[in-house]
C-alpha cells in the first residue's frame, strides 16, 4: 500500500487528534439522558459533563435553540480550523474539499435570500461557518449564474465547479435549485476523482461514502422534481455521475414519474432498498431524509475501523454535523414540549464506548 510508511510523519498527529475528538462524540447514554431533560438548562447541565464542557455556559442570556445551534457550529468550526491549520497537502486539499459543500449551500442560501429581498446582514449569521468566504456577502448582487461566476465566485475555489452551471437565464428560485444541483454534481465528481487519485485506503473509504452521497442527491432531486416542470433530460443533467446508480439507475430515475417508480429503481440496489422499504411495524415513521442520514452515519462510522487514511476527517465532520442536528432536534422538542417525537434523533455510535 502506498503511503503507509510516511503517513504518520505528515498526518499522524492530526489523525490521532481526530480519533481523540471522535471519542468525544455523544454516546447512547448521553442521548438517553438528554432526552429526559425538561428545559434547555437541563441540557446544558448534561452537556457540561461531555466533551462540550463549558460551551453553553459562557453566555449571559437565556438559552435558545438557535443559540445552541450556532454554538455547536462554532464548536465544529474551531475543531475544523485546528485540523485545517495543521494540515499538510494533500490532506489540506482534502479538508478544503469538505468545506466546499458548505460554501455551495451558503451561496444558494444567500441568493434565495436576496431574491426574497432579505438583508444580507440578516442572512450572514445563518450561513454555515465552515463554508464562509470573503466574497460571501456580495453574492446577492448577481442576477445570472454567469454574472455570479465571472464577478464574484471566480476567485473562490467554487469557480472550478461552474463549468456546466454557467447560463444567462435570470436567477429565480427554481434556477437557484438547479444551480445548486449542478454545483453539487461538479463538486461530488471532482471530490470523487480527487479521492481516487490519492488512492490507498482513502479511496476505499471515501469513494463509497461519496457514491452514496451522489446517489442520495439523485434520489432527492427526482423526488423533489415531481410536480415541477423539470423535464426528464433536464433532470438527468443534474444527477451526479459518480454514484453506484450510474449509468443504468440514473437513466431509470430520469424516467421515473412517481414515488413508486423511484422505489422500483431503488429495489435493484440492495443498499438503497432498505431505505425505501416500508418501515417495520412498530418502529415508527421516519422521513426519507432521516433514513438517508441513518445510512450515511453507518457508512461514516466504518471509516474509523481503518488507519492511515483521510476518510476519518470527512467522517468526523459529518458525524459531528449529525450530532449537532440531533442535539438541536432534542432541544427543539424540549422547548416545544413535543416529548413524543424526541426519540427521532439518529444515534451515532451504537455501542457505549
Amino acid at each position: 500500500r502506498p503511503g503507509f510508511l510516511s503517513f504518520n510523519v505528515n498526518h499522524g498527529y492530526l489523525e490521532g487528534l481526530v480519533r481523540g475528538m471522535k471519542a468525544g462524540i455523544l454516546t447512547r447514554t448521553d442521548y438517553h439522558n438528554l432526552a429526559q431533560c425538561d428545559t434547555l438548562e437541563d441540557m446544558k447541565l448534561h452537556l457540561q459533563s461531555t466533551d462540550y464542557g463549558k460551551m453553553l455556559s459562557s453566555s449571559e442570556e437565556d438559552l435558545t435553540v438557535s443559540m445552541v445551534d450556532s454554538k455547536l457550529r462554532e464548536n465544529l468550526l474551531t475543531e475544523f480550523s485546528c485540523l485545517r491549520s495543521n494540515a499538510l497537502p494533500p490532506l489540506s486539499t482534502f479538508l478544503d474539499y469538505i468545506t466546499y459543500s458548505y460554501m455551495i449551500d451558503n451561496v444558494v442560501m444567500l441568493i434565495t435570500g436576496a431574491l426574497k429581498q432579505r438583508d444580507v446582514a440578516e442572512l450572514l449569521p445563518r450561513c454555515h461557518p465552515l463554508g464562509a468566504f470573503d466574497q460571501m456577502a456580495a453574492v446577492g448582487i448577481a442576477r445570472t449564474p454567469t454574472e455570479l461566476y465571472s464577478a464574484i465566485l471566480v476567485d473562490t475555489p467554487l469557480a472550478q465547479f461552474f463549468q456546466d452551471a454557467v447560463s444567462e437565464c435570470n436567477l429565480d428560485e427554481m434556477e437557484v435549485e438547479i444551480l445548486r444541483s449542478k454545483l453539487f454534481k461538479a463538486y461530488l465528481e471532482s471530490f470523487h476523482s480527487f479521492c481516487k487519485t490519492i488512492g490507498g485506503d482513502t479511496k476505499d473509504i471515501m469513494c463509497p461514502v461519496l457514491e452514496f452521497e451522489a446517489d442520495r442527491r439523485a434520489f432527492i432531486i427526482t423526488v423533489n422534481s415531481f410536480g415541477t416542470d423539470l423535464s426528464c433530460t433536464d433532470r438527468s443533467a443534474l444527477y451526479p455521475s459518480c454514484g453506484k446508480l450510474y449509468p443504468e439507475g440514473l437513466s431509470l430515475l430520469a424516467r421515473a414519474e412517481d414515488h413508486e417508480q423511484v422505489k422500483a429503481v431503488a429495489n435493484c440496489y440492495p443498499a438503497y432498498k432498505i431505505i425505501f422499504d416500508d418501515p417495520e411495524p412498530g418502529s415508527g415513521f421516519k422521513t426519507l431524509e432521516d433514513r438517508f442520514f441513518e445510512q450515511e452515519v453507518k457508512l461514516n462510522t466504518l471509516a474509523f475501523l481503518q488507519q492511515f487514511h483521510f476518510g476519518v476527517f470527512y467522517s468526523y465532520i459529518k458525524l459531528k454535523e449529525q450530532e449537532s442536528r440531533n442535539i438541536v432536534w432534542i432541544a427543539e422538542c424540549v422547548t416545544q414540549r413535543q416529548k413524543s417525537k424526541i426519540h427521532n434523533y439518529i444515534p451515532i455510535f451504537q455501542e457505549t464506548t
Binding site: 429526559q36 438548562e41 460571501m136 456580495a138
Partner: protein, 844 residues
C-alpha cells in the same frame, strides 16, 4: 508502622444528617477531609438531583467570577493572593454574594460597554480624519494630472465595446459623478479592487493610499493597517452595486465632502470631538479601574467560597433521604481510627447550625471491599508513589512501600555506585529538603522540576546509598581513595627477589603474586583495595565480583518477596495457600538459585590465593546439576552429587504441588462443605474478622432479622466456586512463577551491567577530558585547566548524574515492580479519596 505495612482499617458508616444541619456538617467534613462519600442515587441524572438549582446558582456565580477575573487580568491588577482560607458561606449568605456579584457584573458590563462604544466612536472619528486628509491628496493629484486623466476616459469606448452606453452618451444623459470613500483592511484591498472591476465593468475609479498609523480593530483589539480609498463612479445603479461590495468587504464608509471648505470645517469639528472623547475615555478608564480594584479585593475569597459551596452541594446530591424526609442519609468510607474525629465534626456542624437533633454516625457491616488508605508523610509519600504507580494495593494487603524505602535506594546505588557522584546527588537533595518550605521552590509550574522536588527524599536516600556503595567499590569520579593503605606491596616482590630491575625496564605490565610472602598483607578494611585501580586486570576482577553480587542480591530480594506473601496469606486466612503456594514457591527458588548463592559463597570461602588454580567454574557445576552428570569434574565437596540430585528433585516436585495443590484443595473444600453443615459455621467465623461479626450481631438485634438475609446472600457470593477457573489461574501463576524465577534472576544482572557502564563511563570522562588538562606541563596548563574542568563538570552532571541517574532509577524501578512485587503484591485496589476541600481548590 502497622498502617504503613497494611494500610488503615476502613469501615462503612452511615451518616444521619438532619436536613437543617446537613450543609454545615458536610462543610465541616470537607475542611477535615476524612471520609469518602458513596453515591446513593447512581440511577439519577445530574439534572434530576435534589440540589441541582443550587449547583446551577453556583455555576452562574462561577461564570460571573470568571468574567471578573478576566477583566481584572486584562486591567493588569494583581490579585491579592494569600493563604486565606475562607469558610464556605452559609446558604442564607449566598444570596448576598450573588447580589453583589450580579451588581458588579452589571456595573462592569455597563462601563465596559460604554468604553467600547467610546472607543469605537473614537476609532470612527480618527478614521474619518484620516480619510479626509488622505482623499484631499487624491483630489489634488487628480486635478494636477487631469489632462492625462481625460485620455483614460476616452479610451473606455474602445475597451468596452459591448456596453450599451459609452462615455459621451453618459455625459449627455448627465449621469452624476458619485463618490464613495472609506477605509478597508489592507489585506482585503486587492480582492476588493478586483471584484469592483469585475462587477462594475470599469465604470468606477478606485484610488487608495495606506494609513501610516496602526488602528486598533475594535473586535479583536489587534492593531491593523488600513487603507483609505476613494471610488468615483457614474450612475446610481453602479453606486448601489459598489455599496453592496463595500458592505461585503466590511468597509467603513464615511461621507465624502462635496467641497474643500466643507472638508476643512469637518476636519476642524472632528479634531475638537476627538479631544473631548479622549478626556471622556480617560475618565471611564479611571472609573473602570476603581470598580475592578474593588472587585479584585474579594474576588479570590469568592472564588474559593463558591467552589466550596458547589462541592458541598455536589456531596449533598449523593445522599439519599430517609422515609420521614427529615434527615439525609449518607454512606461513607471512613478509617476506623477517625470515627471519633468524624463524630466530633458532626457535633460541631450541628452546633454551628443550631440544630436541636444531633447528626450521628452509625457503622454498618458490609461485604464490599473498602478503598485502600495508606497514610504517608513527606518522607514516605515519594516511595508510596513509586508503589502506587504500579498499582494501588488491595485493602489490607501487604504494602511494599516500607521495604522499598531501603531496597529502592540500595539497588539504585548498586548501579550508581560512585562516591563523588553520590555526594553531589545527596547535597542537591539535601538542599531541596532544607528549603522545602520555600515558596518559590514549592509553587513552580515547571513540571520537570516538580518531579524532582516531589522525590527529594528519594533522591537524598539514593545519594546517601550511592556514597556507601561508592566506598565499597572504592570509586570516586572513577579514582580510588587510598584511606587505609593498600594491602598489597610491590616492594615485597623485590625483597623476595622475584622481580629484578631488568624486569621493570623490560615489561610494561607485571603481575603481583599474592603467594609471595609480604605481597598481600590481608584484605583492605572497607571495600575494594585501591590498588585494583591501577591493575590492568581490574575489569576482569570487578566483573566477576559484581556479577556474583548481583545474583546474590537478586535471590535475596526475590526470596524476601516470596516470604512477604505469607503475611497476606495469614491475614486473609488462607492457611492452605501457605502450604500449597508459598512453600513450593520458596522451595523452588531456594533449591535452584539459593543453591547457586551457596556455591558462590562456598567458592569464595574455600579457595584462597594458594589453590586458586584449582577453583572450579560454578557455571559448569550449576549446569551439571541439571544434567545430573557430575563425572569428569572434580566435586566441590563430598556428597555434592547426592545433594544436587536431591535439590533438583525437590524443585521439580514442588511444581506439581504448586500447580494442583490449591485448586484441588479448594475443590475438596467446596464439595466437602455441602456434606458437613458444621464446617460452614466454622468457616464463617474464620472468614470474617471477629469484630465485624460482633457488629453484625448487634445490628441484627437492632433491626430484627432483616439484615441476616443480607449477610447470607453475601456469604453465598463468596461460595461460588469454579474449579476450571481456579485451575486456569493457578496454572498461569505456576508457569509465570517458574519461568520467572529463571528470567528474574537473570534480570538482576542488570545491577552488574549498569554499574559497569557507570564506572566505565566515568573513567572515559576522566581520561578523555580531565587527563588532557592535567597532562599540560607548562604554566599555561593552569589556565587551560579551567575550561577543561568546566567541561568535565558539565559532562559529569549532565551525563553521569542526570542521564545515568535516570537510567539507574528506571532499572531500580523495574526491579521493584516486576521482580520484587509480582511475588506477593496484586495491586488491584482502589485508592481512598476523601472529600476534602484542599484537594479540589486551586484558584484559576
Amino acid at each position: 508502622m502497622c498502617s504503613l505495612l497494611r494500610g488503615e482499617e476502613m469501615c462503612l458508616a452511615q451518616l444521619f444528617l438532619q436536613s437543617g444541619s446537613a450543609y454545615d456538617c458536610i462543610n465541616e467534613l470537607g475542611e477535615l477531609g476524612l471520609v469518602e462519600f458513596r453515591d446513593l442515587n447512581p440511577g439519577v441524572n445530574a439534572f434530576q438531583r435534589k440540589h441541582v438549582n443550587e449547583i446551577k446558582k453556583c455555576e452562574e456565580m462561577e461564570r460571573i467570577l470568571g468574567y471578573l477575573l478576566r477583566e481584572v487580568k486584562k486591567a493588569d491588577i494583581s490579585l491579592p493572593e494569600g493563604d486565606v482560607n475562607p469558610v464556605a458561606p452559609l446558604p442564607k449568605h449566598v444570596m448576598a454574594i450573588m447580589e453583589q456579584l450580579q451588581r458588579l457584573e452589571v456595573e462592569l458590563g455597563e462601563v465596559t460597554r460604554n468604553k467600547e462604544k467610546l472607543q469605537r466612536n473614537l476609532l470612527e472619528l480618527t478614521e474619518y480624519t484620516h480619510m479626509l486628509r488622505t482623499t484631499r491628496n487624491f483630489v489634488q493629484r487628480t486635478s494636477e494630472v487631469s489632462v492625462s486623466f481625460c485620455h483614460v476616459y476616452e479610451e473606455f469606448p474602445f475597451l468596452e465595446k459591448d456596453t450599451l452606453m459609452d462615455y459621451s452618451s453618459m455625459q449627455r444623459l448627465g449621469a452624476k459623478l458619485g463618490f464613495i470613500s472609506g477605509l478597508i483592511q489592507r489585506t482585503k484591498i486587492e480582492a476588493f479592487e478586483r471584484m469592483l472591476w469585475r462587477v462594475c465593468k470599469g465604470y468606477t475609479i478606485l484610488s487608495y493610499a495606506e494609513v501610516e498609523e496602526y488602528l486598533e480593530d475594535p473586535d479583536t483589539g489587534e492593531p491593523t493597517k488600513s487603507v483609505v480609498f476613494l471610488i468615483s463612479y457614474w450612475g446610481d445603479q453602479i453606486g448601489q452595486k459598489v455599496k453592496k461590495i463595500c458592505d461585503c468587504y466590511h468597509c467603513h464608509l464615511y461621507p465624502y465632502p462635496s467641497s474643500n471648505e466643507e472638508r476643512t470645517d469637518v476636519v476642524e469639528g472632528l479634531r475638537t470631538r476627538i479631544q473631548d472623547l479622549h478626556t471622556v475615555l480617560h475618565r471611564t478608564d479611571d472609573y473602570l479601574k476603581q470598580v475592578l480594584m474593588k472587585a479584585s479585593e474579594s474576588v479570590y475569597t469568592w472564588v474559593i467560597q463558591v467552589k466550596k459551596m458547589k462541592a458541598i452541594y455536589f456531596i449533598l446530591n449523593l445522599c439519599s433521604f430517609d422515609v420521614t424526609n427529615k434527615c439525609l442519609i449518607a454512606e461513607v468510607w471512613c478509617p476506623v481510627n477517625d470515627i471519633p474525629t468524624l463524630r466530633r465534626a458532626l457535633e460541631e456542624g450541628s452546633r454551628k447550625s443550631g440544630a436541636t437533633v444531633p447528626s450521628f454516625v452509625n457503622r454498618i457491616p458490609t461485604n464490599d471491599t473498602p478503598p485502600t488508605l495508606i497514610r504517608t508523610n513527606k518522607f514516605t509519600s515519594g516511595f508510596q508513589n513509586i508503589v502506587d504507580a504500579y498499582g494501588v494495593g488491595n485493602y489490607r494487603e501487604v504494602n511494599p512501600a516500607p521495604f522499598t524505602i531501603i531496597t529502592f535506594p540500595f539497588l539504585f546505588a548498586v548501579m550508581f555506585g560512585d562516591l563523588g557522584h553520590g555526594v553531589i546527588m545527596a547535597l542537591f537533595a539535601l538542599w531541596m529538603v532544607l528549603y522545602e518550605n520555600n515558596r518559590k521552590l514549592k509553587n513552580t509550574r515547571n513540571e520537570i522540576w516538580n518531579t524532582f522536588f516531589e522525590g527529594r527524599y528519594i533522591i537524598l536516600m539514593m545519594g546517601l546509598f550511592s556514597i556507601y556503595t561508592g566506598l565499597i567499590y572504592n570509586d570516586c569520579f572513577s579514582k580510588s581513595l587510598n584511606i587505609f593503605g593498600s594491602g598489597w606491596s610491590v616492594k615485597a616482590m623485590f625483597e623476595a627477589k622475584v622481580w629484578k630491575d631488568a624486569d621493570i625496564r623490560g615489561n610494561r605490565v607485571l603481575t603481583l603474586d599474592p603467594n609471595v610472602t609480604g605481597v598481600f598483607r590481608g584484605p583492605y578494611p572497607l571495600g575494594i583495595d585501591p590498588i585494583w585501580n591501577l591493575a590492568s586486570n581490574r575489569l576482569t576482577f570487578l566483573n566477576s565480583y559484581k556479577m556474583k553480587m548481583s545474583v546474590i542480591l537478586g535471590v535475596i530480594h526475590m526470596s524476601f518477596g516470596v516470604i512477604l506473601s505469607t503475611y497476606n496469606y495469614l491475614h486473609f486466612r488462607k492457611k492452605h495457600s501457605l502450604y500449597l503456594v508459598f512453600l513450593p514457591e520458596l522451595l523452588f527458588l531456594l533449591c535452584l538459585f539459593g543453591y547457586l548463592v551457596f556455591m558462590i559463597f562456598y567458592k569464595w570461602l574455600v579457595f584462597t590465593a594458594k589453590d586458586s588454580r584449582l577453583a572450579p567454574s560454578i557455571l559448569i557445576h550449576f549446569i551439571n546439576m541439571f544434567l545430573m552428570q557430575g563425572d569428569g569434574v572434580q566435586p566441590l565437596y563430598p556428597g555434592q552429587t547426592g545433594l544436587q540430585v536431591f535439590l533438583v528433585v525437590i524443585a521439580v516436585l514442588s511444581v506439581p504441588v504448586l500447580l494442583l495443590g490449591k485448586p484441588v484443595y479448594l475443590y475438596w473444600l467446596h464439595n466437602g462443605s455441602h456434606r458437613l453443615g458444621m464446617y460452614r459455621g466454622y468457616e464463617r467465623v474464620r472468614r470474617n474478622s471477629e469484630e465485624e461479626l460482633y457488629l453484625m450481631r448487634a445490628h441484627d438485634m437492632e433491626e430484627g432479622s432483616s439484615h441476616s438475609d443480607l449477610s447470607t446472600s453475601g456469604e453465598r457470593q463468596t461460595e461460588e466456586f469454579d474449579f476450571a477457573d481456579e485451575f486456569l489461574h493457578q496454572a498461569i501463576h505456576t508457569i509465570e512463577y517458574c519461568l520467572g524465577c529463571v528470567s528474574n534472576t537473570a534480570s538482576y544482572l542488570r545491577l552488574w551491567a549498569l554499574s559497569l557502564a557507570h564506572a566505565q563511563l566515568s573513567e572515559v570522562l576522566w581520561t578523555m577530558v580531565m587527563r588532557v588538562g592535567l597532562r599540560m606541563d607548562t604554566s599555561l596548563g593552569v589556565f587551560f585547566l579551567v575550561p577543561v574542568f568546566g567541561l568535565f563538570a558539565v559532562l559529569t552532571v549532565s551525563i553521569l548524574l542526570v542521564m545515568e541517574g535516570l537510567s539507574a532509577f528506571l532499572h531500580a524501578l523495574r526491579l521493584h515492580w516486576v521482580e520484587f512485587q509480582n511475588k506477593f503484591y496484586s495491586g488491584t485496589g482502589v485508592k481512598f479519596c476523601p472529600f476534602s476541600f484542599s484537594l479540589h481548590l486551586s484558584v484559576t
